[in-house]
Structures are given as structure tokens and as C-alpha cells.
Symmetry: C2
Subunit: 239 residues, 2 copies
């Protein structure tokens, strides 16, 4: 059920079979949610973390002027809210961008297995550090990259992340997100997302259509976006 997470963590560091079994055993149930469902509401204490099994999840903040900014996009295999394990309450909402399956991991079980397997705790810590590295990369995108570069960078990031859990191949990947949701991720207007998608298509770098990203020129995309996958921490890459 959460095998994608195991696959992902193995990219970060070697896992013992007992560690893997402990993680698998920490899941109490798998829930299904409709698109738009709010999984965690801000400043509400939580007692469990969630792992995305299928679908897309994002964390976002709604500002008083009505604008919404996404801060994180979680894909299958990601711990959505490992933050809540140490922070208990968070400062924003988390919701489903598509229909989702989510595995529930109660905090007390997590506490138990990280105490029993300190190394596993270290790997989970590393996993949250990589989330932070992704945040920093988004800061760079939002602060210093143009709209085309930003979109190109996101397409690159998603390619590498989805590939690491077997959801992308060299040709591209399924990416069931609306242009409106993209605009909230990228900090730009929906209209401009539309034009930017068009520009990438006309430059023959990426075609994004019908929830599908097809990459025409990986090299061109990487060059445009100034993309370096180092921050994603997958140094134990197979291939």
C-alpha cells in the first residue's frame, strides 16, 4: 500500500527489512477522498500523519485578499504531513487536488518505531529535510525565475520525483492538475499559466495537454529552467 514510500526512502538511504516492515505495519488504514477534500485544517491538532498512495495533494495558504498560494505538492509515496508529528499543529491547510487514496499513520506508532529504530527516525528526518530543500528551490523559482522558467522547472522537478516512484518514464508522465491549480503553485495568474503552457509547446520543449505531460526535449527544458536535481537527494539512483 505504501510501497511507493519505501521505494522513495530507499533512494535516500539503505533500509533494513525490519525497518521496512515496521513502516508498513504502522499504517492503520487506507482512506479514499474526493478531489477538494481538506485533509488537515490549520491550527487544528492532529494525531496522525498521512502518506499519499495515489493522487495529488497540496498544502496552501489563503490570504485575506483572496489569493491562494500553494507551498508544497505531494505525490504518491510522500509523507504529506510528517511536520505534524513534531509540530502537532500546522499553519495552513492541506487538501486533495485530485481524487486520492491516503494511508493513515498515527503519531504514537510513529513515535514507537522511531524509538525502536533510531536509524529509521534519521531517514524520516532526512525526508523532511528534502522537503525543506524543495521549499528552498521553490523560493528560488518564485523569487528569481521568470514565468516560463518557473513552469519548466516544475515540469522537471515532477519528472524526477514521479520517476523515482515509477510514475514517469523518459517520455513524460500523467499530471492531473488544472491550470488554475498550477497558477496557485507558481504564483501567477491562470491566464498567464495558459500562455506559458502554450509557449513551452511552441518552443517544442513540453506538451501539457489532457492531464498529460509529454517532454519533447529534456535537455532544452533543463537548460531553460536551470534545473539541477541535486536538491532532490536521490543520490542512490538506480538505472
Amino acid at each position: 500500500m505504501i510501497d511507493k514510500m519505501i521505494v522513495k526512502l530507499r533512494r535516500y538511504d539503505k533500509l533494513d527489512p525490519e525497518e521496512e516492515a515496521a513502516l508498513l505495519g504502522a499504517v492503520t488504514e487506507i482512506k479514499k477522498f474526493a478531489r477538494g477534500t481538506v485533509l488537515v485544517r490549520r491550527q487544528t491538532p492532529t494525531r496522525a500523519c498521512e502518506v499519499v498512495v495515489s493522487g495529488l495533494v497540496h498544502r496552501y495558504r489563503d490570504l485575506s485578499d483572496g489569493r491562494r498560494q500553494s507551498m508544497e505538492l505531494s505525490i504518491p509515496g510522500d509523507f504529506v504531513d510528517l511536520h505534524s508529528f513534531t509540530m502537532k499543529e500546522i499553519d495552513h491547510d492541506i487538501a486533495c487536488l485530485t481524487q486520492c487514496q491516503v494511508a493513515i499513520v498515527p503519531h504514537d506508532r510513529l513515535e514507537q518505531i522511531t524509538t525502536q529504530f533510531p536509524h529509521l527516525g534519521r531517514v524520516l528526518w532526512l525526508s523532511t529535510m528534502i522537503d525543506a530543500a524543495i521549499h528552498r528551490e521553490w523560493i528560488v523559482s518564485l523569487g528569481a525565475r521568470s514565468a516560463v522558467q518557473r513552469l519548466a522547472h516544475l515540469f522537471c522537478e515532477m519528472a524526477v520525483r514521479l520517476e523515482s516512484v515509477g510514475l514517469a518514464d523518459s517520455d513524460g508522465y500523467r499530471f492531473p492538475i488544472t491550470q488554475n491549480a498550477l497558477s496557485e503553485l507558481l504564483g501567477m495568474s491562470m491566464v498567464h499559466v495558459n500562455r506559458t503552457v502554450k509557449e513551452l509547446r511552441e518552443r517544442e520543449l513540453v506538451v501539457f495537454r489532457e492531464q498529460q505531460v509529454r517532454i519533447q526535449s529534456w535537455e532544452g527544458l533543463v537548460r531553460l529552467a536551470d534545473f539541477d536535481p541535486f536538491y532532490l537527494g536521490m543520490h542512490r539512483r538506480p538505472r
Copy 2:
């Protein structure tokens, strides 16, 4: 020497005297650096973490087109690079924005004390989670807030963070940073930083002059910036 860090961590969670002693004892030396010195260079393995004792430190990325974007601003009491403890190599540079004193904490000592005091390890993890929460808030600023709001928000954040280590009072704080460095933090041009500083002064919210931030109207500033200090995690606030 790193007493400001202890003060800060106490805001996050209760610390035992032995835990505090262990942390203090983990420091091997205090070094002094000139403004501009690069403390950690990208993709270079490190064997120690640093704690800021005095001065300002930032992590940043230089893009191929010459732009520089800061991702994090560390103040006295902050672990600059706890990331390196789990990640070993990082994806960007870290440098001094002012003359700095920095305490060195070798990884092996950190490993030792987090194994010996698991709860301390949890608090340090929490501390990196709060760094991540700050990253997310910056994402919101860069993605969805206007230039004035962004600057106002930074002044608010620094007020709360500096106050938590005794470096700010209700009147304001010392903030020895150039407008150029501010522009790299805020993802806008230096010229526009200058005009924005002026605007905040004319609106009688903040006067930033001669490395000093004087807050005229905290309420006005908070309203303008949409600032909510919740993300800074200081729920054990004294006052």
C-alpha cells in the same frame, strides 16, 4: 556562547539541564568571520554544523543569469546548517552578511548527544521543521504578496525572531543589512527595495535607516503584511 540558541529552543520545548549541558558541550570552538565569507560551499561534504553567535548569515543560490536569491536568513541562536547533519552535502552556498561569530558543532558530537538524549534530537528536528515553516512563509510572500507586503512581512518576522533571543524590543531592532542584500532576500530589484523602504516610512509604519529598524505601528504593519507569528512555533512565549 550559544546561550541564545538555548533560549530559543526553550521556546519550542522544555529542556533538561543535562540536555542543555550536552548541547553547550558539543561546541568545539568559536570562529570569527569577515562579512562576505562563505561558510559552506555547495556540494562540498561537511563534518560540522554552525551556530550563529553574532551577526547575520544567509543561504543563497546564484543562477546562471547572474541573479542571486537568498533562501534563508539566520540570526544569532540559529543553527545555520543543521541540514548538513542529515544531508552531508547541500545544494547552495552559505555566507556571512555581516561580520560574524560562529560556534562549530561537529557532526559526530551531534550524533552522540542525539543518541544519548533522544528527546533533544526531537527538539532539534522540530527546530528544522520550523525552518521549513519559515521557508513556506517565504514561498507565500514571494508568490502572493506585493513588494510592500513582502518587506513588511520580513520586518515582522525579524521582530519576532530577534525578540525571542533578546535582540529586539517593542521599539525595534538593529538590522545591519544593505538594501542590496534585502533585494536578494525579497526577490526584487535594489531600486524597488529603496522605494519600498521609503513607502513604509511615508506610511509611518517602519523607519529603516542606518542599520536600525524602528517600528512606528506594529498593528499597521501586521495588518499590511497579513502577518501571523504562529508559524514561528514560539508557543511557550514568556511575556
